[in-house]
Symmetry: C2
Subunit: 358 residues, 2 copies
Amino acid sequence: ATTSHGTIKLAVIPGDGIGQEVTAEAVKVLEVASPAGVKFEQTRYDLGAERYLATGEVLPDSVLDEIRQHDAILLGAVGGKPNDPNLPPGILERGLLLRLRFELDHYVNLRPSRIFPGVPGPLADPGEVDFVVVREGTEGPYTGNGGSLRVGTPHEVATEVSVNTAFGVERVVRDAFARAQRRPRKKLTLVHKTNVLVHAGSVWWRIFQSVAAEHPDVTTDYMHIDAATIFMTTDPARFDVIVTDNLFGDIITDLAAAITGGIGLAASGNVNPDRTAPSMFEPVHGSAPDIAGQQKADPTAAILSAALLLDHLGYADAAAAIESAAIADIAERPAGSSPTGGRRTSEVGDAIAARVAG
Amino acid sequence: ATTSHGTIKLAVIPGDGIGQEVTAEAVKVLEVASPAGVKFEQTRYDLGAERYLATGEVLPDSVLDEIRQHDAILLGAVGGKPNDPNLPPGILERGLLLRLRFELDHYVNLRPSRIFPGVPGPLADPGEVDFVVVREGTEGPYTGNGGSLRVGTPHEVATEVSVNTAFGVERVVRDAFARAQRRPRKKLTLVHKTNVLVHAGSVWWRIFQSVAAEHPDVTTDYMHIDAATIFMTTDPARFDVIVTDNLFGDIITDLAAAITGGIGLAASGNVNPDRTAPSMFEPVHGSAPDIAGQQKADPTAAILSAALLLDHLGYADAAAAIESAAIADIAERPAGSSPTGGRRTSEVGDAIAARVAG
Ligand SMILES: CC(C)[C@H](C(=O)O)[C@@H](O)C(=O)O
Ligand SMILES: CC(C)[C@H](C(=O)O)[C@@H](O)C(=O)O
């Protein structure tokens, strides 16, 4: 599925809770931003906790097949009420979100982090923060390998297996080097835990070194995941591009979102760089059932995810226009106000759309 | 090996780099603090990178047997120069540090975090931070399970297996509840990633719930590891006791150290609560080869680890005296100075010892 004749086939999965509200705004801005002659043909898929609770369906194969036929996917957020006894832990995450990432081979989980002007954050003196985490998306402890024995007895044993292949590591490491090469600082940091996870660490380390040898213009370094969390709070400006495994990437990107002003602003792309299947773009935040339906959610992360989507499809200018509009909007939110600057979710979307338009 | 006749048999493993310097100060303070009638009988064990590089030995069985005969262990830090080709990654960590933790059944890895008065940290407005992380120490992804296939070929596969048993989870969860019960706020947070690591997550979750039912006076909650890193920067004051697995505990405690003023102040205990073997106390920081031998290192974390050691041995008053002395010393370090307050490592030890003495 590649872009053809100016029509972009977009699968929209709003999901649950605030996912519905923020996705509506992302679509609004996407349509305004779309370059002349480009049309979005949207198909909406109702997937998530609500559908599962009503029908028992998580991601029917037929729906997955349909989604595959699109050029890109825009996802809101997925997840029901915390501790809902009818929602076994992981059923949606593994059955829907991770299944999409794995089936569509989203091996580059892309998470940019910037401190935008005017955004209050928890750090007293963060400096100029502008980095991107390239998180591996199809391996590591996320493969669903592992199992349980003698469940519920005093002799229960549960395992989780992190699977790391040369194939999987090399392709994401190459992608990260290519991204580092396109950035002014050309710096790439590998984050892992090679001193404890010696098998996985070894394949990551060796492949990182050998790809580094092919990229003498990229400065590289290495950091254990524990040390990386320290630098993320004491000197986040040092980072340019980070490449890391699926679980470490999950952890470090939430931390990155926190120090740059919160997950209300953190966008992400689940990218299939080989374009053998559609890539998927989603805010890092969850479905926030506690504020759902109240027009309180900040749609900025979803809107910035739409910008990543446009960039991925080759519309760099349109992507940049959304980003600039969002940055300008953020900068004018009154200090001390709510994340939306005291506005309704739809008003934030309107404001950013108006800036893009005008 | 239990304390007998007022003589505490102490195994001292200074280790590498600044481990040597900071351990000397911890021993100095320990001796001054020891209650009347209590004597420390020290045996020093030279283990670490230096010994390994000179002899190829990491932890000979005979040395381990000797160490076992002590009442407690004080460890400095272990680790050689980064990327020393003669030091394979993990050889010291797994062969020495983790081997001690596993062989001596240190299933409670105890890491208190407080923001001490006068300590500058990266957060603009952290609030009153005083929590303790109870990190599981003998299971999880740290077991050394896993392996590699077709190493160095494009078909390499490397696995890491996280092993979690009902036995192992229950004992550390019980310890954490007991600690929460002894604290004024009586709050315990389980940190895991139950939505992705469903097998391990399930045994942790179920055991946590069932032990919680026996402790109605303890308030409990649950947080995914990624969300926990967010709260650690946006609202660390909310935490009281955290219980978590070995790897998540490794990550969250370095982050905790960072937000409370740096690993120069972070103490830890590798505790065997059943006292079937000596517990081990060590600063969270590493051997910092770049500043080793220069009397620049801050020995406070090592000294606070010595306080945890005394507390574990039942000398709560002596432990409290060290802690107060350290806090008083920290409070008087001039703002903007080096971590030691412009003093040599030994001068910090002298100053804290003097406060304890009088
Ligand atoms: C919801 C969960 C499965 C997911 C993950 O762990 O990848 C989320 O935390 C994220 O970072 O996208
Ligand atoms: C050195 C390393 C093996 C160790 C760990 O990962 O446990 C360290 O980071 C720690 O936290 O004590």
